[in-house]
Amino acid sequence: MPITEVDVEKVAQLAHMEITPDELKIFAPQMADIVAYVEQLNALDTADVQPSLGGLTPEGETTDSAREDTTAPSLGQKTALAEAPDAASGHFRVPKVL
């Protein structure tokens, strides 16, 4: 599936990025190249291969990695907000949303 300027525009929109018409002309062929590169994998026959979700080995996939329902110390309000670009009244503060 060739990547067109329309696709790049859509992705930019979904990522909340502003993109100029000039940039669109640069990025569209670059992204098309990247996708074409990855598409080489389609040459492999993967009919009998299970998707490797979580990046684990077949043994590892069934490893029970869940934890018990016990609480652990949290950061607390002060630390949680310390690196925030804007914080006030114990909250993260952002421009007005609906």
């Binding site: 869940a66 934890r67 309000q77 949680a80």
Partner: protein, 490 residues
């Protein structure tokens, strides 16, 4: 109105009752200082990794089984991508094409209501539940009560990462009351099995409705509108009613409906556009690479199933069959598990299940309501109430005296026998003593006696009243009746 058919599908988000969040050890406790219960995982800091809370699997399984769903041996967590300030990672960990459970068929009891809100005729209805999946909640946006609120939104991430079960139905509801009864059914089931507190006012059960209308007989669904901000079952009902009217109004005026999301505004009693389809999200779901697939063995499912209590509907049916209760009575007694337990213990202790039902539904619940308590906190134990019912059935005290005794038991925590003794309430059943009172009453009312004997039988009640009064309310009415009849006609 009758030319149109309403189509409703529901999505419920229920908070699962865990101590810690779904993917980190932060507390789920409600009402703490804003942002206090946060850590690198739920703040979405770089490099932090989620680890699934085992209790979420168990409570999710309980919820799924209580709603008749099949649990999948393997499910996959997926990232749902969107931008909003209350979602620090830029994605929500949810489930998509391989959910935790699916394919449920649930039978609910439902009834249309008259104008006063009273149910007309209860009937069973089957609802298909498409899926129940596990996911994390987002944080909370605070829009009021803080400085410069016209320019800023404030974010509290204590709720971010709280475990949720999302329960989605097919568009199976045809009236707003069906939707209403379904939500109540789900709420009770989740509370019953301990999966969720499911309290809509507290926000730990949230509901969204997809509503459309079509001409009766049409096969194609109409344009659907998603309703949000339904903060109680009553609000949901009102919002659906409003929305159906609105849609029919638009269509009958020759207009077209937009596929959109609308918010219910309770104060204005109307729905308002929140976003239209053009702005609809493209979530770009993909498998969450930081979590392995969730494997749930048949053995685990069997264990959860074995640990489940008898479900409310099964119990209601049993109450009707075994104890001979009516549908409304059995429904009321199975509205909460603690009440159903209380009832069964009382029924056993009293030896009279129907009397036990009456005493609990009328007298006990009134006392509990007035004190703001539930059955499990009752000052009167089921055994004590059972004894009271026995005393009445054995004619030791009258039903009227029983009410006083229960009131006193509730206030003081004393047993029925102790209250009866203290107040000298023992019912008079000695026939010799009752005969003596009857003789006195007859002698002091010669004219009534004459009229009665001349055929004015209605006066029988007068004599009964006089005898009971003369006994200071203690005479056993059954014996008074018997003896009076004999004496008046002799």
């Amino acid at each position: 109105m009758t030319n149109w058919e309403t189509i409703i599908g529901l999505e419920i988000h229920a908070q699962l009752s865990t101590e810690s969040k779904i993917f980190c050890g932060c507390s789920t406790h409600f009402g703490d200082e804003p942002n206090a219960n946060t850590c690198p995982v739920c703040l979405g800091l770089p490099g932090a990794l989620p680890v699934l809370n085992r209790r979420v699997i168990e409570l999710g399984a309980r919820a799924a089984l209580a709603l008749g769903l099949q649990i999948n041996n393997r499910s996959i967590f997926a990232r749902k991508n969107y931008f909003y300030p209350d979602l620090p990672k830029g994605y929500q960990i949810s489930q998509f094409d391989q959910p935790f459970s699916a394919n449920g068929e649930l039978e609910i009891m439902t009834a249309e209501r008259d104008d006063a809100g009273h149910p007309l005729e209860w009937r069973p209805k089957k609802i298909t539940i498409t899926r129940l999946h596990l996911e994390e909640d987002a944080g909370k946006n605070v829009h009021e009560g803080l400085p410069d609120i016209d320019r800023y939104s404030y974010i509290d991430l204590n709720r971010a990462g709280t475990p949720l079960a999302e329960i989605v139905t097919e568009p199976d509801f045809r009236t707003s009351w069906e939707a209403y009864d379904y939500v109540n059914h789900v709420r009770r089931a989740l509370q019953w099995v301990g999966a969720s507190e499911a309290d809509m006012e507290k926000g730990n059960l949230r509901c969204e409705a997809n509503v459309s209308v079509r001409r009766r007989g049409a096969e194609k669904f109409g344009t659907k509108v998603e309703l949000k901000n339904l903060n109680s079952v009553r609000f949901m009902h009102r919002a659906i009613e409003f929305e159906v009217e609105r849609q029919i109004g638009v269509l009958e005026a020759g207009g077209h409906l937009q596929q959109e999301t609308r918010l219910w505004d309770e104060r204005a009693a109307e729905t308002r556009v929140m976003r239209s389809k053009e702005e609809a999200h493209d979530y770009r779901y993909f498998p969450e690479p930081d979590l392995p697939p969730l494997e749930v063995s048949d053995e685990f499912i069997a264990n959860v199933r074995d640990g489940m209590p008898e479900l409310p509907e099964a119990r209601r049916k049993r109450f009707m069959e075994v104890y001979g209760l009516s549908f409304p009575d059995a429904s009321q007694l199975t509205s909460e598990r603690s009440l159903a337990d209380y009832y069964e213990k009382t029924a056993a202790a009293s030896g009279d299940p129907r009397a036990a039902s009456n005493w609990i539904r009328t007298e006990l619940l009134r006392e509990l309501d007035a004190a703001g308590l539930t059955a499990q906190d009752s000052n009167v134990s089921p055994e004590a109430l059972g004894t009271l019912v026995q005393l009445i059935n054995d004619d030791k005290i009258s039903g009227k005296q029983g009410k006083e005794v229960l009131h006193e038991m509730f206030k003081s925590g004393k047993t029925a026998n102790a209250v009866v003794e203290e107040r000298g309430l023992v019912q008079l059943s000695d026939t010799g003593e009752i005969d003596r009172i009857i003789d006195e009453v007859i002698v002091s009312n010669p004219s009534q006696l004459e009229q009665y004997r001349a055929g004015k039988e209605a006066l029988f009640g007068f004599f009964v009243g006089q005898v009971i009064k003369a006994s200071k309310g203690k005479a056993n009415p059954k014996i008074v009746n018997e003896r009076l009849k004999a004496k008046l006609s002799s």
